[in-house]
Structure formats: structure tokens, C-alpha cells
Amino acid sequence: MRQDDLVSATGLARADVETVLDRAAEIAADPGSWRERHAGALLALCFFEPSTRTRMSFDAAMKRLGGDTVDMGPVESSSVKKGESLADTVQVIEGYADALVLRHPKEGAARMAAGYVDVPLINAGDGAGQHPSQTLLDLYTMREATGLDGVTVGMLGDLKYGRTVHSLAEALTEFDAEMHFVSPESLRLPESVRYDVESAGGAVREHESLGAVLPDLDVLYVTRIQRERFPDESEYRAVAGEFRIDEATLADARDDLTVMHPLPRVDEIDAAVDDTDHARYFRQAHNGVPVRMALLDLLL
């Protein structure tokens, strides 16, 4: 990779993505041979917001490379609670580890933190900003299922605050992908992502319902619409119901449609879909380990 940090999907060139995905495929094909690759290396996990998949898959990835992790633990029991700045926190932690993984509620936190440390820093989610390591595992999963060129991808749900969508949309501009964005009017893509997609020569095709575009899709990337984004419960219920995916919804989809989701889901994908050939979201989550192993291997 050309860069020392992974802060944003903006600027992730096609060659960078392919390097990571190819390495991840090598690892997935023979994970045992990577067991001692980074023996003795330490990865610091700094999560200022809750996480299950991202934290555990980075932890697993580092350990499967022969390294280990040091975890900041919950914010409530850290010196952040005493009012320490993020800038100070990461400068201290870089002395303990060979790389940092950072999740933080403020947008731009990872970019700022990367400016304060010399070790590689990976953005594991910054508020409603970016989540580029998720994007790499999304692209890996998509490449396995459909390839990344000549595909039509629909992104559904909360596109305004959904950081996985922001990173994925920007990364897909490096490939021959036709993108459709399906959301309630109040949760459309933010201007910054729209700007990046259009500046890269992509088109932003927006829809307020899935019906018209579903039959054309190779991939449907579903995200959760959160209750707190709506002023009242009834409005949330109406929207959430409309954007819920079940077997009846998918009756109009192509047989080979791949359904993805960054997880966790609440009820936006009916459990009955899990048993269909469309469902790819659990495999997608499992891919987090080889993809993050590849990313760490390339950055360390």
C-alpha cells in the first residue's frame, strides 16, 4: 500500500484495494502459514465507542498473525474519563504498541490522531464519517460473490449517518460499479460523499423506494435505520417497515442477488432471508479476520 495509515476510503486507489484483497485471499487459503508472521508485534485497540465485530476481528487477526493486542478498555475506566485529550491519549499509547486501531465518536478523529503518532493508525469508525477497514472486507466479500467490475450495487437504509456506506461508495468509484442509493429523503447521502463520487466520475442515483431498482441489482447492501434519527416513534416505524427486507421483498430480485449487511442488524433483514442463497452477511463478517490480517500485514 502507498499509505502508512488507513483513515478514509477517499484516496484508496484500486491498486491498494487489490493488494489488500489479494493478500487476504492468500491468507484465507492457508491461514496456518501466517501464524508466526508478526510474532512479538503488539496492536493497540482504542475503542471510544462500543464495538463487537470490529474490535474482536482486529483482536483475532493480530493473534492469528502471531502478535498480540493491548486494549484501552472501556472509556469509563480510562484516563479519558479524567478529561485527557485524544491527542495525548494516542501519543501515550503509541509507546506501547506497533500500530493503533481507533474508533471514536467524533468525525475526523482518526485523521487528527494519525497526525500525532508515527506508528500506523487504522480508523475503525469515526462518528458518521468513515469505516475503511469495513469497506475492505465488504469489497472482499463482493469480489468473492460477484466481482467488483460490471456490477450494479444498491445501498439501502441510513445513508446519511452510515459510515460503512460512505466508505464503500467512495471506494467503489475505483471500480466499474453502478451505484444506486435507496433511503428516506431525510437520510440521503451527505454532500461530501456525493461530491467524492461525482468528482471521481461516478453517478449518484437516488431512490426513495427499493422496488424500481431491485430487479437490476447484483448486490444489495442493507444498513440499519436507527430510531434516534427520527423525531417520533410512529415516523420511525413507518420508515423502518418500508425498508425492511424479507422473502416477499426479494421475490422481485434476481436469483443471484447477494444481500450484504455490516451488522449488527435489528430487524431490517428478516431472519428467514438467512436461509436463502441471497444471504452473505455472516460470511461477510467472518471475512473481517483475513482482510484485517492482510491489512495489518501490509501496514506493520
Binding site: S8, E107, M112, G127
Partner: protein, 154 residues
């Protein structure tokens, strides 16, 4: 100075800076960028909506005893891209330049995104890349278009 009719509306200064050809209505924002609110004792003259051949109507700001820094000129360019900066010494214009749009501005604008790390009490200056139309926060990537003047930090 040119000595044409609009200039007669605002008195000449002995030494300092005349910011001319400011887009009509932006003079108070120019003062905000320069951190001038009257409390510092500077002698300041302001002309607003005066006729101008080049841009129809313009604002003019004259600040006695102060020459602008490059950072201040960069900030001015965001809201007054047509402005000219005249440095005055002993009533004579000794240096005259058109402002040029910078590629980035640091520490001048406040990011309007309350969830941006630059608004979280961290030891970091705001940084905005200048786009063809508007500016973009280098941290949270928020794009500002029309509302730039409202985000000028004081």
C-alpha cells in the same frame, strides 16, 4: 487610489490597508476576519454598497496602522475573491495586489459540524481545503458552500 467618485465617500488613510472591491455586503465579514470589533481601538472606515465600475456595487474597508498578514489575505479571499489589497504608507499606495484563492486555509473557519474533532476541545486548528465552489473540512470532510462567512472564527 484612483480618485474616482466612490473613493470620496471614505476618507483617505495615512498608513495601513485599504481593502477595495469587496463584494457588496461583505464588509462586516471582512472586519470579522481581521478580528476588528471596535474594542481594539483601531481607526477603521467602511464603505458599503458604493457604486463601482468593476463589480457594480462594492464595499471598501480602510484600516489605519495595520498591514494584513498572508493568512488574513487567504481568509479574505474566501468571501471577497475580487478584492484588491492596497498597502498605504504616507498616503501613497506602495503595494497593490489582487487576492488569490489559496488551496487551503488553517485556523480561520470553524467547522459547522458539531461532531467534528476540531470542535471537541482537541489541540488542533481547523483546516479547510478550498474547492472550486466552497471549502471542505480536512478532518470531517464537511463541505461548506454559501455559508462560509458565518463560520469565520472570532
Amino acid at each position: 487610489m484612483t480618485g474616482d467618485e466612490p473613493q470620496l465617500r471614505v476618507s483617505k488613510i495615512r498608513s495601513g490597508t485599504v481593502i477595495d472591491h469587496v463584494a457588496a455586503g461583505q464588509a462586516l465579514n471582512v472586519l470579522a476576519i481581521l478580528g476588528i470589533d471596535g474594542s481594539g481601538g483601531e481607526s477603521v472606515s467602511v464603505g458599503m454598497n458604493v457604486p463601482s465600475g468593476r463589480i457594480d456595487r462594492k464595499d471598501v474597508v480602510k484600516v489605519e496602522g495595520r498591514e494584513l498578514s498572508p493568512a488574513e489575505v487567504d481568509a479574505l479571499s474566501l468571501i471577497a475573491p475580487e478584492a484588491t489589497i492596497n498597502i498605504i504608507r504616507d498616503y501613497e499606495v506602495v503595494h497593490k495586489t489582487r487576492v488569490q484563492r489559496p488551496t487551503a486555509v488553517t485556523g480561520v473557519l470553524e467547522c459547522p459540524n458539531h461532531s467534528c474533532i476540531t470542535n471537541a476541545g482537541e489541540p488542533v486548528d481547523s483546516e479547510f481545503d478550498v474547492l472550486e465552489e466552497g471549502v471542505r473540512c480536512r478532518y470531517c470532510e464537511t463541505i461548506l458552500r454559501e455559508e462560509i462567512a458565518a463560520q469565520i472564527g472570532t
